[in-house]
Amino acid sequence: MKISIKKLFVVTIVLILGLTTFSTVSLGQTKNISWWYWNISPDNLEALKSTVVKPFNDSHPNINLSVEVKGDKLRQLLRNAVLAGGGPDIIMSPGPSFAQKYVAQDALLPLGGYLEEEGLDKKIFPWALDVGRVKGEVYSIPGTYESMGIFYNKSLFKDKGWEIPTNEEEFEKLCEKINSEGITPIALGNSDWKFINEQIFSVYLNQYAGPENVYKVLKDMKSLEDKVFVDSMKYLKENFQNYWSSSNYNTLGNADYMTLVSTRRAAMTISGSWAFQWVNNDAFWPTEDKWGWMPFPALSENTSYPTVSIGIGKAFSVNKNSKHPDAAAEFITWLYSQEKKIGQLAKKMPGAFILPIELPDEVYPSGIDPAYEKHLKIIAQASNSGNYGYTDWTFWPTSTQRYIIDETGRVMNGRTKPQTFLAELQKKLEKDMEEGLMPPVPNREISNE
């Protein structure tokens, strides 16, 4: 059979056009949505993909979710991309105070309708919804919430017969005992992460002055220059100088101070829920010693035990520039309704993915670390009862937060007086309040004085 070149050309063109049309139509049905993530270890990324991303894509054949790791530069990349009218469909910000900035520029879509449709407005802890509200609308919901506590060498405590402290007196006695053994009571350093300064500030402010007093400050009902706050910073300074690895505070990294605890050169460290990832990692905990977690002791009569200061580690929002906002919102609501998967994440990525909903006991998978499960239950109970402390990265405005990060270290090493620090902080806070930059602080029942 002889085919003319002309016929062959026509057939080829028809085939190309046919294939192009087919692929365009079929690809056009798939909604590609992206989610930019910051730092994540390869193991955690794998766990995230297998537990969340793949099951979501499998159960939603018309949506294709992809995770892109952006690392430390996520904030800058997000800002530049959103400013240029682009960015990922799912915006993962460091918390509500950052999301608030995007809302002010009309860069996020309200989530309320989506949440109500799935009944999630009843399921998510009220405070977690409230902190994401701007002018009554929910624009961000927490991708993880976290708490501050103490990680300690359980084997060392057992060998020495040391008890877990619950109040100021027990805490000081314990630190003295540890000191007398030639061991550093608390190892900590901010070499890798300067934000540790604000974590410490939040812990001591809440545990000493009490969450209720901190709440009053955030609601403009009390001044930070009040004696109770000055005393809390004085107490932090004394603790730092007497019981901490203070001379190396600015030069120890995360792996360094965790290693000091695991090798019995130090007994305890203060950290957030994210450290549950570290204690299960040989690079941070290289010995056979067992680790433990405890809530921070109540440092005065202003605080009950256990009180945990909670905060939001990452918050989800939908980008207004998204071509598929419904698909992006679909992912967020789907994630919150997957209790079993959230339980699996608790096992596979401890500390990295704690969604603010109460999980029934049966969804905790077997093999989950009991200390971690205990921690989850304590913070869930605190969240539910409304008796929690306020971390500055969630409940304070961003400019004030920066001042806390930069100046707390100077208070600890005695270069700035607590009074001077708090007076300046109060001024900044008032200015932020005047300018309407305060993140929402959920209402709290105040005891009669």
């Binding site: 904030r75 800058q76 800002r79 959103v82 400013l83 900035k101 995007y102 002010a104 520029q105 009309d106 860069a107 901010n190 070499s191 300067k194 001379s247 190396n248 505070y249 600015n250 030069t251 120890l252 360094d256 000091l260 961003t398 400019s399 937060q401 920066r402 930069d406 100046e407 270290g409 100077r410 090493n413 270069r415 700035t416």
Partner: protein, 280 residues
């Protein structure tokens, strides 16, 4: 204008366009933004000189200016003295000059972030020099700035040395012969022959050192992020924090203008020297 000259402009046009869009355009935009209140998102609002007034009343800004001036002073003395000495010795050395030049230049070719991390290990309080000496190199606010600078000097002085050495190659050997016949010792030879012979390169590198000193960011960011307690805060790190941590892009732009003013001052000095007949 001759036809050839006009044609010559055609060849520099691409570079001019790139400079216009990549340097001049953002430079003008930064200058204008310094007079606005801008979070980095949305529309900026004109606020006049408010950002500058806020900056000038901020003690951290003055700490950063002071640290930048100290940094500049250190870099105008230590690496330049080391580089001059190194280049002089290289010129008069007998063996391994090419090898040494490569070794000196090598740190300049390495990625700053990686080298800075290595220095962090060198200073480490548990496994590095900190453990041996008991000194908290990056943790003690009184000395941290100098030890960050030391790490940067390690990477910088070799580059200067190679530049000075290349300039020294241009000096006529007969000048050294005359100096020798007149009984000049090594020091006199250096002061009266070598230094005048490389004066244009020397002054140029001084000017560039001043400009670069006000632009330093990565070494400080990786090693200390401006801490402890602002002890190593420089204008560039403060700018970054204002822009990306507190959403004060207007104030960050104002810091950018201040950095440019310091850089411009050194360029003005260069022009003044040229007008006075210096070949720089």
């Amino acid at each position: 204008m001759t036809k050839g000259k006009k044609f010559g402009y055609f060849f520099i046009l691409p570079a001019l366009l790139i400079n216009f869009f990549v340097i001049l355009g953002p430079g003008i935009a930064n200058f204008l933004l310094s007079f606005t209140k801008w979070s980095g998102l949305g529309m900026p609002q004109f606020v006049g000189i408010h950002n500058f007034l806020v900056l000038f009343s901020d003690k951290v800004f003055w700490i950063a200016v002071k640290n930048n001036l100290i940094w500049t002073g250190v870099f105008l003395i230590v690496p330049i003295a080391m580089a001059l000495l190194g280049a002089h010795l290289l010129k008069h050395g007998q063996l391994g000059e090419k090898f040494l030049r490569t070794i000196y230049f090598l740190p300049r070719t390495l990625p700053i972030v990686i080298v800075a991390r290595i220095w962090q290990f060198i200073y480490h309080p548990l496994n590095g020099l900190g453990a041996i000496t008991g000194i908290s190199f990056l943790g003690n606010p009184d000395i941290a700035l100098y030890f960050v600078a030391l790490a940067n000097i390690w990477a910088w002085w070799g580059f200067l040395c190679v530049v000075f050495y290349s300039a020294m190659q241009e000096i006529s050997p007969s000048l050294y012969e005359v100096a020798e016949l007149n009984g000049a010792n090594q020091w006199q030879e250096f002061i009266h022959v070598t230094l005048p012979g490389i004066m244009s390169t020397f002054v140029f590198m001084i000017i560039m050192t001043i400009i670069w000193s006000f632009l330093v960011f990565d070494w400080v960011w990786v090693l200390t992020q401006g801490g402890p307690g602002h002890a190593t805060e420089l204008l560039a790190t403060l700018l970054y924090k204002k822009a990306f941590y507190t959403f004060n892009a207007g104030q960050a732009a104002a810091i950018g203008v201040v950095i440019s003013i310091f850089g411009s001052l050194s360029i003005i000095i260069l022009f003044l020297l040229r007008r006075r007949g210096w070949e720089v």
